[in-house]
Amino acid sequence: MTRSDGVRQKTKVMETRELEVGYGNRTVVAGINQEILKGQFVCLLGPNGCGKTTILRSLARLLSPLRGAIYLDGHMLSDFTPQELARSLAVVLTERLSPGLVTAFEFVAMGRYPYTGFLGRLSEKDVEKVQEALYLVNATDIADRYFNELSDGERQKVLVARALAQEPEVIILDEPTIHLDLKHRIELMSILRDFCRKKKITVIISLHDVDLALKISEIVVLVKDGAIMAWGPPEEVLKEDAVARLYDLDRARFDRKIGAIELVNSGNGRTTFVVAGGGTGTPVYRLLSRGGFRIVTGVIHENDIDYHIARSIGATIISEKSFREIKQSRLRHSLAIMERLDHIIDSGFPVGSSNRRNLELVLNAVDAGKRVYTLRSRKTAHELYGKLAEKLIYCQGVQSILERLKE
């Protein structure tokens, strides 16, 4: 198992040994031998139906394991009394709740269940804890509204607050971001990360978003085909091929440096050459890919964001090493390809000493009588290309290129 040095000294919270989870006779995931440390943010990734939920339910003792053992704080999970377990472990599940006429406050207060007396009367400390939990998820203002009236984002916050009110060591969340928009998704994740950092709560979560997982988790777990495919820090685990294999991506690619997934350029339409750089090519690639065009791009430096996006999209790239001036051979190669194509796009790349030669590509194309579309203004085009700028086709905005190309 790989683990970064910073977390090595931390104590173990959960541990599984030869764990096999599933329902009845059906094993869903087997051979889970892992450790989870205090305050870690662990994220399970995998395609739908791979068994993330089954693993989480087993870790939360909502499902008994088929084989093997789970340890919480060094004790067998099955040895905990319901109350002891509820004091150390809380869950947020995916099922849609309709608890009736229960206010958000009352809902969160149910998290105090393992602490209150026989009739469930809240002590002053309980009320304080509930209010603190509501405050920590920014839900104080909705405390008095009925749970059923809340939006998806607000509900999710209240669910998390309820789990927090249980004062657990471990919170297990099953796809908590699934119905949320971007704003709430990010808000929820940063709340959870704060729990990890400030309250030293261990968060075990299943997510759909590889991007989000890469950016937020300390440990990612890839679950595929009834086994744990990988377990470790996202930087080590989330390699391009691993992600592609995890989700059986043949129509999309994942770029680790950017942490984004791009749909593979599988168009069989006309091939278009994009002269790009400095990120100006990215919107053009995506547009052309959507429009079903095949893409050739160059000359792009390997440290350019355009390079990563073009690679994820599956464009043909003529590239140059980072920060180097473009070699003559690369330029010739580009010109050779360009010769066979009719449509060239000048993305309006910034020009500097290392990529000055890309201007020659544009000039050559214009000179050869090809249709060259540019995103530059007439003024800058004249400054860069001189009188040949007259022959360029000027497009305002990326979308208009597509319209012109389709004419």
């Binding site: 099922e95 393992p114 469930g120």
Partner: protein, 355 residues
Amino acid sequence: MSTLAGGNETYRGLGRLLIVKAKRYQGLFLLLLMMLIILFVLNIGIGSVNIPFMETCRIISQHLTGSVPGGIIWKIRMPRVLSTLFCGGYLAVAGLLLQVFFRNPIVGPYVLGISSGATLMVALVMLAGLSIGILGIHPFFLSVAAFSGALAVMVVILVVASRVKNIITLLIIGLMMGYVCHAITSILIAFAEKEKVKGFVLWQMGSFSGFTWKEFYLVLLLGVPLLIGAYLMSKPLNAFLLGEDYAKSMGVNIKAFRFLIVIFSSALAGLVTAFAGPVAFIGLAVPHMARLTFGASDNKLLIPGVVLLGAIVTSLCDLVARTMFSPVELPVSAITSFFGAPIVIGLLLKRRVAI
């Protein structure tokens, strides 16, 4: 909590809000209690035999049982009215327990086949000649039959509940049991003599008219501990509002809890059915009325709430059943359904929040 300085203002706001709510609930309970007392007095005072109000007061306060009106009030009306109150409360609590347990607002004691089981046993006694040799069937014997029927269904449900995890499955099994019981009952009716059928049909309509003191004490002694038990379960009941998984994760012992709910609800419903016959609607509707009245689903509040409201609604329905076409007494189930159903629909439509 120095880190939460910004939230302090709101905290205090919340505290105030809780106090305001508590006061509102106290007011509501007082109101319900007053309504109950008024209905009690009306039920005692009104009947096919006209007894002046002052006379009634005198008879009650001085415990006069000798005269004819005294006999009517103390021997007939009093046990009946008191039994009606308690039976209404029991049915409502049984309904509430089942609604929380099944997380389904349209269930009542009928659903688990509890009432149907009781009806079937009574049908066996009244129609199928199990009473051979007993010319007049003693009403108490009928009660025993009804209770054993409810109990039998309950035992079957418990056995199934220990194996079936899914609550919806359990619900459907309850429904199916009800259908089977109904089917057997109707076959028995088809083969029975006309005279007997009439008696059975009357029983099946439900009525509180047969209660004597002896029966009232029995209902009281058997039922009140169940009510107290249900109230003591209000904490896990509340947790159950979030569903079985959350309840489990908060420390509810699900197995024991399922067992207790099934026992309590069927015992309460069976007890009422045994003595009054199947009374429709109370178990289904009163929990709704209570939730909407209190604007809450907190069972610590709702259990006493439904006891009071169940008693009020049942007494009112019994009063209407007795007096509307006096001296003809209508079946109480007809009244409960006829007036109750539209009220529930109206209350539900007026609300934005789903129950």
